[in-house]
Assembly symmetry: C2
């Protein structure tokens, strides 16, 4: 494995220097073969913070601008990393690719199916590398599950579930103070508006866009109680927030039917008091794994109870046995970056596919399908739970699509020959 | 409290003497103020087994018949307990009430919304006591949760979830041998076809039919993999089962929207290898309880983590504090009957409401609404996840309904004066 390997230096522009953009830029600056050449944000102080960071870490000057179009047109850049608010990721990425730049975007929901198509068309027409920075796909446990699924531990997959269950009342409720976009989204939208942390890794297990696809979804949401209560008790400075109608239901739930007959269940839960929890579940013909309590039961593998019946065991035994070689190698190299090392791994995947012009492990079709769950769930909820179709953004190629330029970071089980240990049995 | 109290003797007829009927009859025979006077089943050997059981336990003779209409017309009976297959519960109960008998039925899904209306009309027109024997409503943990909800521990409820997640491949797959009806249902239907163990107790928490109601549902199901595989490996004697098309998806999922804005999520999962698990969750403005791992987090009550953030604690502390007085009294009396004592408690509720002609704690409106989730989920799945309306079987009375003859077994928070400790704070 090649963690720490130096490749040709690439020159990046960063668009979006809020808290997330700043942290990701720090992680990118840990890579000697990456140069940060330009910074863009809509706030001048953030641009200056970014320039200062690069100066401190590298001693180099950085171009700064408030206009992403200007940054996208800088001829010296190889690629841009876009970490703006949810509603601008796609339009900025389209502009970047049309300016001849490879592009990566942070996660979030789409606002319309059309903007997903526009993104797909821009990538197809320009041929640029595009990557969706869904760090959850690179989680230790998801890579392990991917390995287990690819080795048939669960047999034929039948059902997957996950939830974005994260008490974000402070971030949302103080969004106007923090200059954070979530508040606007929670005051105006109602849906599974942050689907990709769950539908992303689950789609990799289910081979979405690579032999499978999501066909349709239906969604319902609960009333909205939590954020209103929070405004009343925490924002006496803004009585208008206390009387505002919060449209986003506390809980939004989505059911997705796949072409292969699998069912996916998603839950969005961000405005009630609770511990963080993704509530993942992976279930197939041979058994079930449940994140709550970290337990697994695989028939004829997990030890049965005293009556010979299936019972859960801690997932540690099988997770150790099937740990993904990529994560093992990463641990030997040393985890770095935020979110327990995920961010480095995800950004490194982008950097290396740009360097090698390899297949993007989370490509434009993945981004379009996953992000579309955001706006489509809003549509279904607005229509009282009516099912809505999820477009086939590959236009039929999902049936036979394979990676044609495999990379170490691939998530589809297709790796370069030198990494073939990935496909051997544990 | 009155466990063990003897009231006027009631004379019961039993319809349905399969495994479940036999066990429930044994439990009823533990009650000195209950006489079993008649037994009916479609199989003669089961009728004889029932008669023999009563003879052994009580020394009395019992009338036996293969025809439920004959049993329902016996003038000496006060009430009948119906424990037949899912598709006959309702029609037999209607006939019983029209013959002037109080009636209780075992759980299961309805086959049509119309039969639910027919049941409601029969009860309203005859005025007989009707009870739906949903034993899960009387579980220790559900009574505790009910007490917690009624005392405001969760604040305003927002979301509830539960699942019938029970590996029944043996019972279903050998149904033809066991003379069990599940096989026919799994070969022909596709839905949440056993909803009441979850929607029942959750409806009690949500005051369904007593200030709230279920408005609509949407459902989706996965492909069917598990039962087909099981037939192939376990029923070489019946190759027709191995080639049969199993219609019931391994996983069926339902989302229900309530008039109060609450969301309910149900999961049906009976044909894949797995441990038994109901995966309950109760969530409100103040916190969340999760059955998986038996954890709870109530803001400003559960101890926060070292950073002051909400975290789960084992549910034992709050469950001990809020344990329902009915279960405490039952434990002092001594648990009896199957399912950890639930069956005795549920049957005893029926016996006592018959004796006292009190309000049924799980009445015809509850039965109709909960059972209808079965056929309505089939309709929604057949329509590709289209939402379907859940009828208001109370015809508007749900807005203001209260128990008018409260009993100890009530599940709506309305108890007789002598049990007022139930409504005081723990």
């Amino acid at each position: 494995m090649k963690f720490g390997e130096q490749n040709r230096t690439i020159r990046l522009g960063i668009i979006g220097m809020g808290g997330r953009g700043f942290g990701q830029t720090e992680t990118l600056l840990d890579m000697p073969d990456v140069e940060i050449r330009a910074i863009c944000d809509v706030y001048q102080d953030r641009v200056e913070n970014g320039i200062k960071l690069v100066k401190e870490r590298r001693g180099t000057e950085c171009f700064g601008t408030l206009n992403y179009r200007e940054l996208n047109r800088l001829p010296e850049l190889d690629a841009v990393v876009i970490m703006t608010d949810w509603t601008t990721h796609i339009r900025i990425a389209i502009d970047a690719m049309r300016c001849g730049k490879d592009a990566a975007i942070e996660v979030g929901p789409a606002s319309s199916v059309q903007e997903c198509w526009d993104l797909v068309h821009a990538q197809e027409e320009t041929g640029r590398v595009f990557m969706f920075l869904e760090n959850c796909c690179y989680e230790d446990q998801h890579l392990t599950l991917l390995n287990m699924v690819q080795k048939g531990v669960f047999g034929e997959l039948v059902f997957c579930a996950g939830g974005y269950q994260h008490d974000l009342r402070d971030e949302i409720g103080n969004g106007d103070i923090y200059r954070h976009y979530r508040q606007d989204n929670f005051l105006h939208r109602n849906g599974e508006i942050y689907p990709t942390h769950e539908v992303g890794p689950l789609s990799k297990l289910l081979r979405i866009n690579r032999g499978n696809r999501m066909l349709s979804l239906t969604a319902m949401s609960s009333k909205s109680v939590g954020l209103h209560q929070w405004f009343l008790t925490h924002r006496s400075d803004r009585p208008d927030l206390g009387t505002a109608r919060v449209t986003q239901g506390d809980i939004a739930a989505v059911l997705i039917r796949c072409a292969g007959g699998e069912l996916i269940s998603l839950t969005h839960d961000c405005t009630l008091p609770r511990p963080y929890d993704q509530n993942f579940r992976v279930q197939g013909e041979k058994g079930v794994w449940r994140e709550a309590g970290h337990v697994i039961c695989i028939e004829n593998n997990s030890p049965p109870d005293e009556y010979g019946e299936n019972q859960y065991e801690p997932d540690s035994r099988l997770f150790t046995q099937y740990r993904h070689p990529m994560w093992k190698a990463y641990e030997e190299f040393g985890l770095r970056g935020d979110h327990g090392g995920l961010d480095y791994l995800t950004l490194r995947a982008f950097v290396e596919v740009v360097q090698k012009q390899a297949q993007s492990p989370i490509d434009v079709y993945d981004a379009a399908a996953w992000m579309a769950v955001g706006c489509l769930s809003e549509e279904s909820i607005a229509l009282g739970g009516t099912p809505v179709a999820i477009p086939d953004f590959t236009n039929g190629r999902w049936m036979t699509r394979k990676a044609d330029k495999p990379s170490w970071y691939a998530l589809d089980g297709v790796y370069p020959e030198e990494f073939e240990d990935l496909s051997s049995n544990s």
